[in-house]
């Protein structure tokens, strides 16, 4: 099979050894790449005794057959490990350029185990891997560290590097990837897994190109697809992911005041068009992506200037803006930049600050706990100050860096009632009361409250996928059809994360399931149809569930926090119906072939070859 190096790089930091594992076609046919291979390795090489922050945990980063091909928006990889934040499966999909450089160095994936006896970084190139001393950049932020690391290797390299948050084992630490732009593998605290291994960075560069079965066919296919993709994503690229802020607020999808409020006139102050008119200096793109949805922003002066760097995305606007009621765009840009530098997940950071603001309002914490910071709704200054404390693990930031669930447990009293999380992961910026498929996806996604597992909210509004039997956009807030759509999209998006290709190519139906199948066949030389790819996606989704059920996860863990289940919002355009999770979950398990408790049945596992 073509399209691969067919090699996994294995690094044992305890013994400072590395080896190369060959990948056979049978494994690649069954799990393809990305999340598929990562989930298989994680299942096989960890168990219920694995400490997420212990040397026995693995950190895996996997590319797919689309990586370093002509397929647009495919410069991505999937990072996995047992999550220190949730204790269950941890995963994060990230763009940038690292995946391409890594694959060009001659590998499809890397698995890191053990713990180095001092701070190290990996220099991965075509000649192999070197374990090098990282002491000079310990304590430095991701951008400073990347600059030094490129100086030690090559300035063409891409660097996956943790900041102080990961070094200090904050459970909401991500892994910034610094090339010409910054992108984070942010979710699930995987930055802390790197930190626990004394692994500061993984630097990659290469020039090798893997053979593809029908490169000419792929080149021809792109002549049609790329102009269409550019055309339908022009507005999305121009205004970025935050272009939808005002619309989502009006629809009741935008999170407000720790998810308890309904409408917010100030949303327009942090929308994509406002960014475009004020702080945006240029658009940024992952390598070889024609969409260019990233933002490079500059704050000239004021309390947060001068500041220049990657700008906030929609999810950051939702969590740091809406959830905290902060409409100060400069403050959000500053907090976002700090997260990139310290290596913090902006979603979890914004969420835990919103939670702390509500705890402050309710008197569960006071200025005595916050070193004098008035943790009031809408305070941009408090947002920035708390982000610093979390990133550097100072004062109450130590506790906040543990995430919403642990902070609520530490505060006690009624804090758990307004702790917004599923399985320990803070939600992304999509309200499950507005899109019921999102409620089901938050409940059943392997990593917790994840919008990307199904990425169904656009399909509950303005997208459809005929090849999957989804012939029109699904009506919102109705039980009928929601289970089928959510499950199908979870399997489909699993495929996208294993091949790997960005969700945003689905905007405007620019890239369809038919395209995906054709390109997979052209690259690998296989001849599969959409049914077979969907079966692979279903297999991967079930394998991830199986990983979690081994850790005790079942139906009891698939419900949403009380506020989503009981708090009815009011306001123009806001739906007043709450997602009927009991009914949705029961129907979902039946559709999936799982037991009433949400466990994959032996029959289902056999059917999927698990």
């Amino acid at each position: 099979m073509l399209g691969y190096n067919k090699k996994i790089l294995r690094v044992d930091l305890t013994n400072r050894k590395s080896e190369v594992q060959d990948l056979d076609d049978a494994l690649l046919e069954k799990y393809v790449g990305g999340v598929g291979l990562g989930a298989r390795l994680l299942y096989d090489e960890t168990n219920s005794d694995t400490d997420p922050l212990g040397p026995e945990n693995i950190l895996a980063a996997m590319t797919g057959p689309f990586t370093d091909s002509r397929v647009p928006s495919s410069s991505r990889h999937h990072v996995m490990g047992r999550s220190p934040l949730t204790g269950i499966l941890g995963e994060s999909n990230v763009g940038g350029s690292w995946a391409v450089h890594f694959k060009k160095a001659g590998y499809d994936g890397i698995v890191v185990t053990g713990k180095a006896d001092g701070p190290v970084y990996l220099w991965i190139h075509e000649g192999g891997v070197e374990i090098r001393d990282a002491r000079p950049v310990m304590g430095k932020d991701s951008v400073e560290s990347a600059e030094w690391l490129k100086g030690q290797t090559t300035d063409k390299a891409s660097v996956a590097v943790i900041g102080p948050a990961g070094e200090k084992l904050a459970r909401i630490a991500g892994i910034p990837h610094v090339g010409t732009i910054v992108r984070q593998a942010a979710r699930c605290g995987l930055g802390a897994v790197m930190g626990s291994k004394n692994l500061k960075a993984m630097v990659a560069f290469g020039t090798k190109k893997v053979a593809q079965a029908d490169e000419e066919g792929l080149r021809e296919a792109m002549k049609t697809v790329l102009p269409h993709l550019r055309k339908v994503t022009e507005t999305f690229g121009k205004y970025g992911t935050s272009g939808g802020v005002e619309n989502y607020e009006r629809l009741g999808n935008f999170p407000l005041q720790n998810w308890r409020s309904s409408r917010w006139a100030d949303a327009v102050k942090i929308s994509g068009p406002t960014m475009y008119d004020t702080v945006l200096k240029k658009r940024t793109a992952c390598l070889l992506c024609p969409i260019a949805c990233g933002r490079h922003v500059r704050i000239e002066d004021g309390p947060y200037g001068p500041m220049e760097g990657e700008g906030p995305e929609y999810e950051t606007m939702g969590t740091m803006g809406g959830e905290c009621l902060v409409s100060d765009l400069a403050a959000i840009c500053k907090a976002n930049d700090l997260c990139n530098r310290y290596g913090l997940d902006t979603m979890s950071t914004g969420s835990v600050i919103a939670f702390a603001m509500e705890a402050f309002e309710k008197g569960l914490i006071t200025t005595a706990d916050t070193d004098g910071v008035e943790l009031r709704w809408g305070s941009g200054a408090a947002l920035v100050e708390m982000t610093k404390k979390i990133g550097l693990r100072q004062g109450i930031g130590e506790l906040m860096g543990e995430g919403v669930l642990r902070m609520a447990q530490a505060l006690g009293r009624n804090a758990i009632e307004f702790a917004m999380h599923v399985k320990g992961l803070e939600p992304s910026a999509h309200d499950p009361r507005r899109f019921w498929s999102q409620a089901l996806s938050y409940g059943t996604a392997a990593r917790g409250a994840c919008h990307n597992a199904a990425w169904s909210h656009p399909y509950e509004l303005a997208l459809f996928m005929s090849e999957l039997g989804l012939d029109k956009p699904h009506p919102s807030c109705q039980v009928e059809g929601t289970v089928e759509m959510t499950a199908k999209l979870q399997s489909y998006q699993s495929m996208n994360d294993t091949l790997i290709i960005c969700r945003f190519t689905q905007v405007g139906k620019a890239v369809t399931a038919t395209n995906i199948v054709d390109w997979y066949n052209m690259i690998t030389g296989r001849r599969v149809d959409i049914g077979e790819l969907m079966t692979i996606g279903e297999r991967i989704f079930n394998l991830k569930r199986l990983f979690n059920t081994r850790l005790g996860i079942s139906r009891k863990d698939d419900f949403l926090p009380p506020r989503f289940m009981t708090h009815n919002r009011k306001g123009e355009g806001i739906t007043t119906q709450l997602p009927p999770m009991g009914k949705l979950l029961a129907d979902y398990y039946e559709y999936r072939g799982w037991s009433e408790e949400g466990l994959p049945t032996p029959e289902k596992l056999r059917q999927l070859g698990l």
Binding site: V268, G272, A462, F464
Partner: protein, 87 residues
């Protein structure tokens, strides 16, 4: 009937645009009467599909996302926003 525009469309069309119509008219036809700058900004292609339109702009009648062939009555107010696609 009346269109209410949000950013960035309001910069070209103003906050409101009134079209007196005598009976139900398809959204597609009403868009055809937009100023050229606005048509360019929403990337309207007369032969394009609903999904392609929704990648650039969304028209809402109350909470209902409109299709190009949906009919609009004179007393109705249509909100025009950037698409909800991100995240």
């Amino acid at each position: 009937m009346r269109f209410l525009f949000s950013d960035p469309f309001s910069k070209v069309a103003g906050k409101e645009l009134d079209f007196p119509i005598s009976g139900p008219v398809a959204l597609r036809a009403l868009i055809g009467r937009f100023p050229p700058d606005l048509i360019k900004l929403i990337h309207h292609d007369p032969s394009g599909s609903d999904v392609e339109l929704w990648a650039h702009v969304m028209f809402f009648n109350k909470e209902r996302l409109l299709r190009l062939d949906d009919m609009i009555d004179d007393e109705e107010t249509i909100k025009v926003l950037l698409p909800a696609t991100g995240g």
